[in-house]
Point group: C2
Chain length 383, copies 2
C-alpha cells in the first residue's frame, strides 16, 4: 500500500523524498481523498487566482525576467488552472510541461488552447513522482507554498521534480523561501478560551442529562473529551490576517531554504533557536504568528534581472490567502518593551497525515532587569 | 487495493454486499479518510447522543422490550461511544459484542467499564466485515441511518452482520425502515439562487481583472465554473429541519425496507413512482423534502411487546440531527389545492464515493381541471 515510490529514480535527494514518503506510509488514494481533491474545484483555484499578492509576484517574476523563459524549456509543478505555465509560454518559452495531479488538468488544457498556446504548453495529468518528460528543463516554476510555508508538504514534489528534471544550471522559481515567527497581541485567545469553556459547560450538562434520562454515566469520557476540545480550540493554529500593529516584537527567522539545493531531510524537521525583542510598552504576549516569504532570484549561473519578493507578513495594505498562522498562549503573559524572548521552535509532520504539522514552542522571557519569567513550553497543531 | 472482501464469507446477501463494495472499487484507507474518521471524534458522538428523538427511540425500544435482551446475545454494529451496547447490557443481555471501526472503541471500552458492564459488553475494534464472533446472536442492534436513511451506505454493513451472525429466529433493531418524500415551500431556493448569481457575478469580475492585469483570458472556464457552482448551490440537497406548515402536500412513501430480509441489491438503486396531492391553496412548489422513519417491531417469531417508532419527519415539537434533506426547484412552480403530482424518483450511489447519493426526480403536475403543467426532470446530489 505504501507508494509513490514506483518509478526507479536516481539522485540522492529523490531517494530521500521517496524514503520519507514510504516511511510516512503514504497511501496515494488516501492522500488524494485528504488533499488533492480540493484542488480539483475551480472555486478553489479562483481563490488562489484572486490573491493579488501571489499573482503579482509570479507575474512580475516571469515578465521581468523574460531572459529566463524566452526560448527555454519550463516545468510547472502542480499547474492547477495552468496560469503559471501560460505566463511562461507568453514570456516566450519554447516548451512548457504543466503537470497536474487532479482533473483540473482538463480545465488547464482548455485554458491553454483558449490562449493559443497549445503548441507550447503541454498539460500532463499525473503525479510529478510518476510522470516522465522527454527532456530536462531550464526552469522549474511552482506555487507550492502552504500555510506557514510547509503545510501540505508539497515542496517534496518540487524537490523530486528538480532532482529528476532540472538541468544542472537551471533556475528554480521561486529560488528561496524563509519562515518567520513574531510575538503578537490578539483578542482571539480570549475568544477561543470562551469557546472551549462553553463547550465544556455543554458537556457537563450533557453528562447530567445522560445519567438522569438514560441511566448511563459518561463522566469517564470527560478527560478525553476535554483533551479533544483543547486540541481543537486551544492548540490548533489559526488562520488570520493580522494588522502590523498586532506585532509586539521583532520577527525572527526560523528557516531559510535554498530551493536549488534543499533536500526533503532539510524540511522534515524544522528546528530553530532564536530571540525576539519586545518593542511595545506594557502589553500582553497573546501568542506568536508564523508566516513566510519567497524570493525569485534565478540561479547562481543565471541570476534574475529583477529580483521579486512574495511576502505573507502582516501588512496594512495587502493580505494574502495564506494569511498568517497564529499560535495562541493560554493565558497570555504580561510583557513590556525591552523584554527578550529566547524561543526554541520545532515543527515536524503529523504521523497521521504527512501534509499536516505539529509545532513545539518553548520560550524564556528575560526582562531588561535580568529577571526571568517562568519559562513555558507549548504544543500546537497545524491542521 | 479494492477490498473489504478479504474474509471468505458465506451467504448470498453477504456475497452481494461484497460484490457491491468491490464493484464500487472501495479502498479501505480512502473510505476511512472520507468517512469513518468523523466518528472518531467525541464531539461528533456527543451530537448524536444529544439527539433526544434518537436516544428516546432506542432507549424505549430496548427497555420496553427487555424480553428480547434479557439473557440473550446481542451484536451492536458501529457502537461508537457504546451507548446501545451498554443499554443492552443493562437490559439483562448475557453477552453483547460491540463492534466499532474507529479508535472510538477505546472510549467505548472505558465507558463500559465505568458502567460496570465489562463482564457483559465486549468492545471489538474492527470492521464488521473483517471481525469474527465466537457465536451467533439473538439480536442485532445498530444505529446505521444516514441523512435520508441511506446516505453513508452503512446498512450494507448491517446486512453483512445479519447474514453472518444473526440466528435464524433473531431480531433486528430496528426491524423496518421507510423513506418518504413530500412537496414543500421554502425560502431556501431564492437564497441559494442569490448565492449562485452572486458567485457568477464575482466570476465575471474576476475574468475582467485577470484579462486586464495578467493578460490571460479565462472565459473558457466560465461554463465548467458555472456547472460547478450550480451543482454546489442549486443541485446539492440541503440539510434542514422544516416546520410542518412548510409541507404543502401529502407525503409519499418511496421505499419500505424489512431489515430482516433486505439485500444490498434492494438498496443500491431505489426507484419509485408515486403521487402526491397538493393540500394548500395558491402556493409555490419550491421543492421536495425527503426523510425516513424506522420501527422496532422485533421479528415474526418474536415480536416486540411495545413497538417503537423513530421518525425524522418535520415536527412542531421535535427536531433530529438528521433533519430532512431538501431538494430545491429553480424556479419554483405555482400550484394549488387539488393539484396532483406524479413523481418518478430514483436514487443511486455516487460513482466517486459509494457513501454519497445521486437523485433523479421527474414530476408531472395535473390540475383538477385535467390541465397538465409542463413536466420537469431534475438531478440532485446528496453530499
Amino acid at each position: 500500500m505504501s507508494s509513490s515510490a514506483t518509478n526507479g529514480v536516481a539522485g540522492d535527494h529523490t531517494t530521500t523524498a521517496i524514503n520519507a514518503a514510504a516511511a510516512a506510509g503514504v497511501d496515494k488514494g488516501v492522500d488524494f481523498a485528504n488533499y488533492f481533491c480540493t484542488y480539483a474545484f475551480l472555486y478553489h483555484q479562483k481563490e488562489m487566482l484572486c490573491d493579488r499578492v501571489r499573482m503579482d509576484a509570479y507575474y512580475n517574476a516571469v515578465f521581468q525576467n523574460k531572459h529566463h523563459f524566452n526560448g527555454k524549456t519550463v516545468l510547472d509543478v502542480g499547474t492547477g488552472s495552468g496560469i503559471l505555465a501560460i505566463w511562461a509560454g507568453q514570456a516566450g518559452a519554447r516548451k512548457v510541461y504543466a503537470v497536474e495531479a487532479t482533473k483540473m488538468s482538463e480545465h488547464a488544457r482548455a485554458l491553454v488552447k483558449a490562449n493559443n498556446l497549445q503548441g507550447v504548453v503541454e498539460v500532463i495529468e499525473g503525479s510529478i513522482e510518476d510522470i516522465t518528460l522527454p527532456e530536462k528543463v531550464d526552469v522549474i516554476i511552482s506555487e507550492w507554498m502552504g500555510y506557514f510555508l510547509l503545510r501540505e508538504s508539497m515542496f517534496d514534489s518540487v524537490i523530486c521534480a528538480r532532482d529528476r528534471w532540472l538541468k544542472p544550471t537551471g533556475s528554480m522559481y521561486p529560488s528561496h523561501a524563509r519562515m518567520w515567527l513574531a510575538p503578537i497581541r490578539s483578542g482571539l485567545g480570549d475568544q477561543k478560551m470562551n469557546d472551549y469553556e462553553g463547550s465544556m459547560d455543554d458537556w457537563f450538562y450533557f453528562l447530567d442529562e445522560t445519567k438522569t434520562y438514560y441511566g448511563v454515566d459518561m463522566s469517564a469520557l470527560t478527560k478525553p473529551f476535554s483533551e479533544e476540545q483543547k486540541k481543537y480550540y486551544l492548540q490548533t493554529s489559526l488562520w488570520n490576517n493580522l494588522h502590523p500593529n498586532q506585532l509586539i516584537g521583532s520577527a525572527a527567522m526560523i528557516k531559510e531554504i535554498d530551493c536549488s539545493t534543499a533536500t526533503v531531510n532539510d524540511i522534515l524537521d524544522v528546528r530553530a533557536s532564536m530571540s525576539s525583542l519586545i518593542t511595545t510598552e506594557e502589553t500582553r504576549l497573546c501568542g506568536f504568528a508564523g508566516w513566510f516569504d519567497v524570493h525569485f532570484r534565478g540561479s547562481k549561473e543565471n541570476p534574475a534581472q529583477h529580483e521579486i519578493e512574495l511576502t505573507t507578513a502582516p501588512s496594512e495594505d495587502y493580505s494574502t490567502h495564506w494569511g498568517q498562522q497564529v499560535f495562541l498562549l493560554h493565558p497570555s503573559i504580561h510583557v513590556s518593551e525591552g523584554d527578550n524572548l529566547a524561543i526554541n521552535f520545532s515543527m515536524t509532520r503529523s504521523k497521521e497525515n504527512h501534509r499536516l504539522m505539529e509545532v513545539e514552542l518553548s520560550c524564556e522571557i528575560k526582562q531588561p532587569s535580568g529577571r526571568l519569567l517562568p519559562p513555558f513550553r507549548k504544543k500546537f497543531y497545524i491542521e
